[in-house]
């Protein structure tokens, strides 16, 4: 499926992006011959039949793991190799945090259904879930700037993923945390609520079930019954949901990276589209498909761990 999606994106990218546009309107104007000479060695010349171009590109990946070059000649491999870790850092941290927070809040509000705590948590969640990510991220930037001014030093950095000239393990760790805090917070803020609602409704269904009543009748406290019996069953659908929400996290990461000026895959996505970098666009699509598949595999593993009825053969 990943291969099919990547190839489809290749053809769609050719339909909508025109690498030639980068050279039209340059001063001094380039002759047709010069443009062809620039594009031809990069497999971006539209005079070559599409299938020939495609085979060049596809066989390059198959045999040399070479994802081609952009219109300015920089290697897609190098770009992606650096950027994917920047993005992975942000997305992994945010996904773990928002899942844990959502599940914890879901358990909290399910065990206090319709009481004050539940109502407040639900009211907050429905608002945060529907704040657009752009507004959330920029709002956090404003708050952080105000906070930095009150404290007097730069606690939160609002641009970039790391500072230049920081070395040593602990300084680097602190520096990374200062940079990663805000974008992660923005992603968590808008993402946690869906797990809150899902976990709450699933857990409520399970709390009313016979086996939880049985556990209570055996003498377990309500807390124990929820933790040991109801929670484990209701976690299974939530983990499947996590896998399918990874593309949404990626979309959110595109916007957060552009706001916080992180040089990650999301920013690469914007750059490649504006520069008509076809090979780069396809690499971004492939990255998206790979992390979706990765999420699906992780979810399968989690289900096997949680659900004793599923046996691995």
């Amino acid at each position: 499926m990943v291969v099919a999606v990547t190839n489809l994106t290749y053809f769609l990218a050719w339909a909508y992006l025109d690498p030639r546009a980068n050279y039209v309107g340059r001063r001094p104007p380039l002759s047709e011959e010069q443009i062809v000479n620039l594009l031809e060695p990069r497999d971006l010349y539209d005079g070559t039949p599409l299938l020939v171009r495609w085979w060049h590109w596809f066989s390059g990946i198959l045999f040399h793991w070479d994802w081609g070059v952009g219109p300015t000649g920089q290697s897609v491999n190098e770009q992606v190799a650096y950027r994917m870790w920047v993005s992975a850092e942000l997305m992994l941290g945010a996904t773990i945090l928002l899942t844990v927070l959502g599940i914890a809040l879901g358990v909290y509000s399910a065990s206090r259904q319709y009481r004050l705590g539940d109502r407040i948590a639900q009211g907050t969640s429905i608002i945060t879930m529907n704040i657009p990510i752009v507004v959330a991220a920029l709002g956090l930037v404003l708050l952080a700037i105000a906070f930095n001014e009150t404290v007097g030093t730069t606690v939160f950095y609002v641009t970039g993923s790391s500072s230049i000239g920081v070395s040593g393990f602990f300084p680097v760790l602190v520096d990374t945390l200062q940079h990663i805090a805000l974008p992660t917070l923005a992603l968590v803020l808008i993402g946690y609520a869906q797990y809150h609602f899902l976990q709450r409704s699933l857990l409520l269904d399970n709390i009313k079930s016979d086996y939880v009543r049985m556990a209570r009748a055996k003498g377990l406290t309500k807390q124990q019954a929820i933790r040991k019996h109801a929670l484990r069953t209701s976690l299974i659908p939530v983990t499947t949901q996590v896998a399918f929400s990874i593309p949404a996290v990626f979309t959110g990461a595109v916007l957060t990276e552009s706001i916080f000026a992180w040089k990650g895959m999301g920013q690469y996505f914007i750059e490649t589209i504006t520069k008509n970098d076809i090979h780069g666009v396809v690499a971004v699509a492939a990255f998206g498909a790979v992390i979706t598949a990765f999420g699906a595999i992780l979810a399968d593993i989690a289900v096997v761990v949680l659900d004793p009825r599923v046996r691995v053969s």
């Binding site: 529907n130 704040i131 990510i133 920029l138 700037i145 990626f250 914007i270 589209i273 498909a289």
Partner: protein, 314 residues
Amino acid sequence: MTSRPIPLNDPDAGDDTTTPGSGHDAPERKRLTKWQLYSRRFARNRPAVAGVVIFALLVAFALFGSFFAKYDHVELDFLALSDPPSPEHWFGTNNSGNDLYAMVVVGLQRSLLIAVVVAVGTTVLSALVGTAAAYFGGRVERVSLFVIHFLMVAPTFLLLAMMSNDSGGDWKVIALVLILVSWFFQARTIWTMSLSLREREFVHAARYMGVPGLRIVLRHMIPNIGSLLVINFTLGVVGAVMAETGLSFLGFGVKLPDVSLGSLIGIGASSISSAPWLFAFPAAALTLLTVSMALIADGLRDALDPTSAAGGRA
């Protein structure tokens, strides 16, 4: 809580499943029509009512706000560059002298228009494909499900960005592309629900009476998932607003001289510490729009769901 006796509404095919208690066991109780029941249940949900009020105010602002504007949204006031909010420019101005109030009005119109068009298109398309796939079965079902599953793994946001960037910022193209990349999740849900619907007696009855297949889908199946469609529509508005503003923020959506809330926020983002009002006003309008619509969807879900716990005392 007043209720007046009303004749039962026509037992039209499809509508009867959601009509409340038949009343044979308690003849002295006064009956409510379906819509009275729904509106009463909706009105009991205070956040949902607040959502309706906010949404109505926003629509009024988008429609009539320009009557109060002192400037046009493309008009430049060179004596007021990057001015904070003042009596002259209520929401301030940007660095080329555009009046932000006029721009927010126009941007809100544009965002709302795209959102409503996309939500209508998505709901109609998903309802038709979902129910038709379930009713006709066989090849129709296989092909539709294949398309749906393929789109589910495709990098839709990327395709969306490429296509709308290529269109040069025409809102009609953006709306069309947004419909194309957002209908399939709903279609899959509707297909799942319609699977049980197609085995119902009234569908069989219609089929054996010789009603053509397309009419069964349109007259008997789609009205039965009406409540789901209403909820999908409101959630579709939220999703479309978010997608459109995200695109416009990145510069792939609506482009100058046309403005939307997303492109306004994009302009405001570059000067967020020196001119925060450029960000604050469009962001507030956008957040109010999405949150109010979500509250409405939540209230509708409680009001329309016959098994909802929130509807105990109608």
